[in-house]
């Protein structure tokens, strides 16, 4: 009887939190799923049910397919660039710079993560500028050919990857640092006694021991990579005086379909596809790392 009352109390205590969570988190997802099966122009009171036709149309839409391809390249590019460099940087900060400047290094790596995105992207836009940018000035000084960073179909995607990685790096380093600080020192001492070098300890001890952290950081980085929007928008936005090549990404395509083309159901179908991709990739990452850990 007492147990039952306790259980009831626990449910009652949790109910408000769960209700808020359901309203704020679950309802929008369910509503998006529902909208994706309807044709709605944002303005009309009618939302005719169209089944899967939004999804079928999407897979024949070249702008959507371009956006999907670009987004996937950017998300994986950011992850591939960020994870190894963050791990190495965190390792360096943790093992090599136990000086009074350690805090400074951590802060300087983390700052890009907290800097407002728009001014940061504007600064990067200047760096990538074909005529006035310091990057091309450096390349020219080194004897190379200046590049149209923001206009070339491939380089413009690379620019978005660099900008996103620059932003994501600080957070990843911070999480890896926490991981490094929680690694058992006895294992490293034993390795040292066995004659392992610093690099060998990093390669054969730190990397495997940090797998749970790597999983978490890579999932977070990948998800945020799939949600890329502002970086692509600012680097090549509507600025008429000095426009750039618009790198079409999924969120930008969704916004365009919702508020310019007035096709909210269609944009919701894109959102559902994005959700499925992120869920599948996250599941795959978990499975992959679990499998390896099992071995």
């Amino acid at each position: 009887m007492l147990r039952r009352r306790r259980w009831r109390f626990a449910v009652m205590a949790l109910l408000p939190t769960f209700a808020i969570f359901a309203w704020v988190r679950l309802y929008p997802i369910v509503q998006t799923l529902n909208l994706s099966l309807h044709d709605w122009n944002l303005l009309s009171k009618n939302k005719p049910f169209v089944g899967l036709s939004n999804f079928i149309e999407l897979f024949g839409d070249r702008l959507f397919l371009t956006a999907l391809g670009n987004t996937a390249i950017i998300a994986f590019g950011v992850m591939l660039l960020t994870i190894p460099s963050a791990m190495v940087l965190a390792g360096l900060i943790h093992y090599r710079t136990r000086s009074r400047f350690a805090g400074f290094y951590e802060t300087s790596v983390f700052i890009p993560h907290v800097v407002s995105l728009v001014p940061a992207a504007m600064a990067w836009k200047w760096i990538f500028d074909a005529k006035l940018g310091p990057l091309n000035a450096l390349i020219t000084r080194l004897g190379g050919e200046p590049q149209s960073w923001l206009f070339d179909p491939y380089l413009s995607v690379l620019c978005v990857i660099i900008l996103c990685s620059w932003q994501a790096l600080g957070y990843a380093v911070l999480i890896f640092l926490v991981g490094f600080r929680n690694l058992p020192t006895s294992v490293y001492e034993a390795a040292r006694l066995d004659g392992a070098s610093g690099i060998q300890s990093f390669r054969f001890l730190s990397v495997p021991l940090l797998k749970p952290i790597t999983l978490y950081v890579s999932v977070v980085t990948l998800i945020s990579g799939f949600n890329v929007y502002a970086q692509a928008f600012v680097l090549a936005s509507d600025a008429q005086g000095a426009p750039g090549r618009l790198v079409r990404v999924l969120v930008l395509d969704m916004l365009e379909n919702s508020f310019r083309n007035y096709r909210v159901g269609y944009a919701a179908a894109e959102a559902v596809i994005l959700l499925v991709i992120v869920l599948v990739l996250t599941g795959a990452q978990f499975a992959l790392l679990r499998e390896r850990n099992g071995r």
């Binding site: 944002l42 303005l43 000095a242 079409r248």
Partner: protein, 429 residues
């Protein structure tokens, strides 16, 4: 007991005094504009209304056009609080009107718009839907050629180009290059990149000079795409020829009004607001304007009122809209901002006489033609998707000199446009 009664009386008295001391409830009107340069104009109009509405507070909120479009879409559908004056082209407003999201104006406003002494039928139609007036015409975007007279003189050119073939010849002569032959000043700045439908609108303007239109109305009153043809081919070929072959302009070169004001391009096609922009940002620039070879786009901007507000505030908003069309304010608009007012019967000569660059916009040759964007729901989607196809084509060097490939690009884009029209039940026979 006696003390309590006294206290209650004192509190009541104090509260009454406070209520009396409060100012009369102020009326409030918000103005949403998609052109930041129009902000001072609306503020000027608001100042002029002080005598009639001493307590009227006008919040002028101009933002960039694409953001404005999103704001309007979200604002109107989720319910606007307070009387809001919204600036929209008729082609965009039609969506809201068809869904009963923009109210019919008071009768005196309708009469003002319908009065032939105030507006020509083109502008009345652009502010109406099925014959019912919903908005008040204010200004229009109309294109003309802007050219740098000093650069023309240096290139030995004495007059503006008159045909599209001459535009290409002039672009070649006007392009300035470095020792390696790379262009440093573009001969003719073209809209080649960036997002949004502007790329398609600019292409349409050029194609119009060759006798083409992106959309044509069919006999059944519907529409069909009509640019995978000779006019479309000539227009796109010219773009690709200038960008990829003659390299009089490149995708990465500074473009548009900013480039013109900084002397980074010799000529470009734009609306009259550039005159006001040059006056503010590059007053020493030596330039002139000229009509386009065949005709121009005329994109009327109208004012509508929406929002959940009491009748007095809605009335004040409509009075604000009418005030924008007062002759003094329209002359101020032309003189200080540069957008062309649509109202007829107003003497603009004080401005047009002192700023000769306006001549190309008001004294165009006989038979000069105009086109506008059709007032159909999917117009933005049609143009945005065409713009995406065009910007890819402009950057594709493999299209240079290959008419078949260029035509294939146009055909693919035209099919996409017709598919959009068909989906919306607007595809004509």
């Amino acid at each position: 007991m006696h003390y309590t009664r006294n206290l209650r009386g004192s509190l009541l008295g104090a509260a009454s005094l406070m209520v009396l001391a409060l100012p009369a409830a102020a009326q409030e009107v918000t103005v949403w504009s998609g052109y930041p340069e129009l902000g001072p104009f609306y503020e000027h109009v608001a100042e002029g209304m002080n005598a009639k509405y001493p307590d009227l507070k006008v919040n002028v909120e101009p933002i960039a056009l694409r953001e404005h479009e999103k704001r309007v879409a979200l604002g109107i559908t989720s319910g606007l609080e307070g009387a809001t004056v919204i600036e929209l082209p008729g082609s965009t407003a039609s969506r809201y009107v068809e869904n009963d999201l923009l109210p019919v104006p008071p009768q005196d406003v309708v009469d003002f718009v319908k009065d032939p002494a105030n507006f020509g039928p083109f502008f009345v139609d652009a502010a109406s839907n099925n014959g019912q007036v919903y908005g008040v015409p204010l200004f229009r975007g109309q294109g003309a050629l802007f050219y740098n007279t000093e650069m023309f003189e240096a290139a030995g050119l004495t007059e503006p180009p008159k045909t599209m073939e001459e535009y290409t010849e002039y672009a070649e002569k006007l392009t300035q290059r470095d020792a390696d032959g790379n262009p440093t000043v573009s001969g003719w700045s073209l809209r080649l990149s960036g997002g949004g439908q502007g790329i398609a609108e600019k292409f349409w303007i050029n194609m119009f000079q060759y006798g083409g239109n992106v959309l044509e109305q069919t006999a059944d009153g519907k529409w069909k795409a009509d640019y995978a043809n000779e006019a479309g081919l000539k227009a796109l070929r010219q773009y690709i020829d200038l960008v990829q072959t003659k390299k009089t302009v490149t995708v990465e070169m500074p473009a548009d009004a900013e480039a013109f004001e900084r002397g980074q391009t010799a000529m470009f096609i734009r609306e009259s607001w550039v005159i006001g922009d040059i006056a503010a940002k590059a007053p020493d620039l030596k330039y002139a304007t000229a009509p386009l070879p065949v005709g121009s786009i005329a994109l009327p901007g109208n004012l509508y009122v929406a929002g959940d507000a009491d009748d007095a505030d809605i009335r004040a908003a409509w009075d604000f809209v009418l005030a924008t069309n007062e002759p003094d304010n329209l002359v101020w608009l032309l003189a200080n901002v540069g957008w062309l007012p649509n109202r007829s019967g107003v003497d603009y000569s004080s401005v047009t006489d002192s700023v000769p660059q306006f001549a190309a916009f008001v004294d165009y040759p006989e038979g000069y033609k105009f086109f506008t964007l059709p007032s159909i729901g999917p117009i933005e989607e049609v143009l945005t998707r065409l713009a995406a196809a065009l910007s890819e084509a402009y950057a594709d060097p493999s299209l240079a000199g290959d008419d078949d490939k260029i035509m294939a690009v146009l055909q693919r884009a035209e099919d996409e446009t017709n598919a959009i029209l068909e989906r919306e039940g607007l595809l004509g026979e």
